[in-house]
């Protein structure tokens, strides 16, 4: 039975222990785990629009953990294990469906990169298989594996435990859980600046008044640079539009998730039946939540070549979100700048899948005022030390 309201709609108080900026998946999950795992309930999540209405509402909901490097395997696999128990944990259905993901290889270098990644995944304890084209076709019968394609399918990595979830339900589940534990979820409350005195965070400014807090957590995705700029912190981030689209509702035809970096498309079929497709980012910087049409066109061309059965489907809706892309296609997480400021950014095109994992680790980081071991490799200092976590192969186009 559903409760009458999932969360209260409180006026912001004048002070909190922790302020989380951004009421998307990451911000809501962080608030939830702060309260549930650490008993820190004097927390506000400040959202400039509505809960889960930014990139949380705009992503293609793909969940997987088959990244190359140990640091990435650590955080994404932690997230995947939490996904596997999330509905029980939250007491809320999020339509998590482990239907697997195929990452296609279209060239010899794709094949080498894919096989290498499968081996790396297995060493890291992550389920991964290398499939030849016939095996990939068995997993996804509508996939065109003909050798006549412009970019033929030469093989694919396969992670059976990967899948999709219903993004809105994930946001609502975390919001409901956090609210029930006493967290204030404040919508229509844009943060215009982080305030600092004597090298330490003192709170945030909003049109609804200043709100004091000695710990401020930025979960603002594409707008992180703007917020960090208010305390003079320059981050290695570039904000880009990322577009996606859905078809009308169709009979179930697509049993898994298929991603292709080389031809720039990723496709799954949502529970209701619409085909959900994403592409690469638009090349230019942008905060406009829309991109250029030719990017959609190229993505559709790629999808039609791989899935001829889509030829008669119609695009129902396209949209864009603003993603913050880092130089090594890995997130930037941890304390930075003035004391009490915590970053969670740089997830670029792939933050959704990390939602439970980063919420868990970021809450732990804030509670103990030091990086959780799983996010320690993702600190901003790596751009000085050179210890980059290069996930371009696993993440650059289709995260």
């Amino acid at each position: 039975m559903s409760p009458e309201v999932l969360w209260r709609n409180p006026e912001p108080r004048r002070a909190y222990d922790v302020v989380v900026v951004g009421g998307g998946g990451h911000g809501l999950a962080t608030a939830y785990y702060l309260a549930r795992n650490h008993g820190i309930t004097d927390v506000a999540v400040l959202e400039r629009g509505w809960l889960g209405g930014g990139n949380m509402a705009r992503n293609t909901t793909i969940i997987r953990s088959n990244y190359l490097w140990e640091a990435s395997a650590g955080i994404y696999e932690h997230a995947l294990r939490l996904w596997e128990g999330l509905e029980d944990d939250l007491g809320y259905d999020v339509d998590f469906s482990q239907r697997g993901v195929l990452n296609l290889a279209h060239s010899l270098s794709d094949v080498r990169e894919g096989v290498r990644r499968v081996h790396a995944n297995r060493l890291a304890g992550i389920d991964a298989e290398w499939l030849d084209p016939a095996q990939a076709h068995e997993v996804c019968p509508i996939l065109n594996v003909s050798p006549d394609l412009r970019h033929p399918v030469l093989g694919a990595t396969y992670q059976p435990r990967a899948g999709i979830a219903k993004h809105d339900y994930v946001a609502w589940g975390y919001a409901h859980g956090a609210d029930a534990l006493g967290v204030d979820l404040v919508q229509d409350c844009p943060v215009t600046a982080v305030t600092v005195r004597a090298g330490a965070v003192t709170g945030v400014d909003t049109p609804r008044g200043a709100i004091a807090a000695h710990r401020v957590v930025l979960c603002a995705a594409g707008h992180t640079s703007v917020l960090a700029g208010t305390v003079g912190l320059d981050l290695p981030l570039q904000s880009h539009p990322l577009q996606a689209l859905v078809s009308e509702l169709l009979e179930p035809v697509h049993p898994t998730v298929v991603m292709s970096n080389a031809v720039h498309v990723y496709v799954s079929q949502a529970h209701k039946g619409e085909l959900v497709m994403g592409a690469g980012v638009d090349a230019y910087n942008g905060y406009g939540r829309r991109g250029s049409f030719h990017v959609i066109e190229a993505q559709m061309a790629a999808a039609l070549e791989l899935f001829p059965v889509f030829a008669r489907a119609h695009v129902l809706r396209t949209w864009g979100g603003i993603v913050d892309v880092s130089p090594d296609a890995s997130p930037i997480v941890g304390p930075a700048g003035p004391d009490g400021l915590y970053l969670n950014c740089g997830w670029g095109t792939g933050g959704f899948k990390a939602t439970p994992g980063i919420g868990w680790c970021l809450a732990d980081t804030v509670a103990h005022e030091r990086p959780h071991p799983l996010v320690a490799p993702f600190g901003p200092d790596r751009f000085t030390t050179g210890a980059l976590i290069d996930e371009h192969g696993a993440a650059a186009v289709a995260h």
């Binding site: 640079s225 910087n285 942008g286």
Partner: protein, 92 residues
């Protein structure tokens, strides 16, 4: 799709162009003198404003020349284009 006014060829479709990111990033005069932090900033940190942004474009499928533009990253309106080497124009 953006309609980009190449300073040499006039307005052309975005698909003819290649994006080059932030403009006016000078190579350090003495790279060896930089600290690790300064070198990291030079390599990785670029302006990422919400608003007017000076950026490079190459007319890759046209005259193949690089030039700079000032574009608003909220509206995507191109406020000015100018040739490489020229200073960023002052706009109202």
């Amino acid at each position: 799709m953006l309609l980009i006014p190449c300073p040499w060829c006039g307005p052309r479709d975005e698909t003819e162009f290649h994006y080059g990111g932030a403009a006016h990033v000078a190579y350090p005069p003495d790279p060896a003198a930089l600290s690790d932090e300064e070198w990291g900033r030079y390599l990785f940190v670029r302006a990422n404003p919400e608003g007017a942004f000076a950026e490079r474009w190459s007319h890759a499928d046209g005259c193949r020349r690089w030039f700079n533009a000032v574009r608003d990253t909220r509206t995507y309106e191109i406020r000015a284009v100018y040739r490489a080497g020229e200073p960023r124009p002052v706009l109202p």
